[in-house]
Subunit: 144 residues, 4 copies
């Protein structure tokens, strides 16, 4: 499987939201981007605040943009803040460099197919839901 | 019903996509925004091009921003182009003023609950799918 | 009187809204800017759509920016569209060049104290409300 | 009461300004946004500087955007500066992440109805006026 279809993206979102619900998390917003960094599907749960679509998209975009889950960007923001700030400069401010943006990789070979970005609870919980969502499809999750 | 939930938004998208499929239309992208102009749900069908999420969102946003379906903006772009151009200026370039952005109104009372924006086929066909999607939920469609 | 106070600005807005109500107009948004082009007061009536604050402000700003009511900009948009487009370029897209932005001038001497911008009904009706609002304060209205 | 009307918004502003006056604070600017983050009413007191409308709006917007009073953003700006900087990136620079942006919640159930943003004195005093303004209407204030 070399492409991230809408059907798979929906499955990832539904599984991520189910994981959040099973943990009693706050309302989440989940974005799935393809390998080109473009939105395939997004869902914002009732009560998730108005900037969440951009935040979820920004986490997933940061992952696709750098080829690493957004946890890697979060670590770099501590060790090399000027680097992450500059990345966001060339990215037009579209990155959100905290955990919760997770690469979707092919089960075999590991090619990057896209990324999931989640926001609404703590960054660690957001990331756990993204991993659970990807796992439900048999694809490989790479949180960075 | 006074709020556009995620469940209703999904129902609108699925019905709009089914309508497009029944007509043999090109791959579509469908965005549903709430009454504040913020994304609730978006789906981009396989093969729908990469800018479609912004186009679908821009049609729906134009409807919410002005309180009229985007067909109204399309008519004004012909009669008063400087007005529509200026609206897009104060809107930060976020409006796509052609048919396919349809207001979602409450069945009783007609309050604006949100808007659907669709792109991928002709503007008229895009709009027809938006109307079909809204109709499937029992809410009222206002194309402008 | 050489300055546009908040008290006068509120009086203008209330009189403009009362005029609109007496004519049975749609819900309006009214912005009052000072002579520097900065917001003093704004009110958006219930049911006035979400982009109206920017539209009302953009009409008033266009008037202050050029020293003429926005009807003058509207006329220029027909005769010299490239000029109005270029004005909006240097203005950062913040002008809305249609009637409804009216200069507030001192009753004696005619100095520009600020501008009122109104949107929600037809441009002509919006402008009539701005003139009525300014008239209620004893200041002079200049629609361009 | 499920919507933030103009009448309620005016009442909030007047009570906030009265509170500031009773404390002898500097001239204030007060913005009230609805649940979609759009301006309902704004008043800038005589002597309040020219950028205050954007600052007041930016505090209120930050609260609505994240679903927490802007004191929460202020705390995060200390602990995770790259996160708040990135939020402002995806928000187009429209957030002012310091105290003084207070959520307006329904008295029963706690739904977010909008937010008040105040600027002009110290951030703590600004916030106190926002809380006093909301309290005067019987709604619940959530400073974050």
């Amino acid at each position: 499987m070399s492409e991230l279809t809408l059907a798979i993206s929906e499955k990832i979102i539904k599984a991520a939201l189910a994981h959040g619900q099973s943990l009693g998390l706050k309302p989440l917003t989940v974005a799935v981007l393809d390998a080109g960094g473009h939105l395939v599907a997004l869902m914002r749960q009732d009560g998730s605040s108005i900037l969440r679509p951009q935040i979820a998209t920004g986490k997933a975009y940061g992952a696709i943009a750098t080829g690493a889950g957004s946890r890697w960007l979060d670590a770099n923001a501590a060790s090399r803040p000027h680097f992450v700030q500059a990345l966001n400069g060339v990215a037009g401010g579209g990155m959100v460099p905290v955990p919760g943006g997770v690469l979707i990789r092919a089960a075999e070979g590991g090619a990057i197919l896209g990324a999931v970005g989640i926001t609404g609870d703590t960054s660690d919980n957001d990331e756990a839901c993204a991993i659970a969502g990807i796992a439900a499809t048999g694809l490989a999750a790479d949180p960075g």
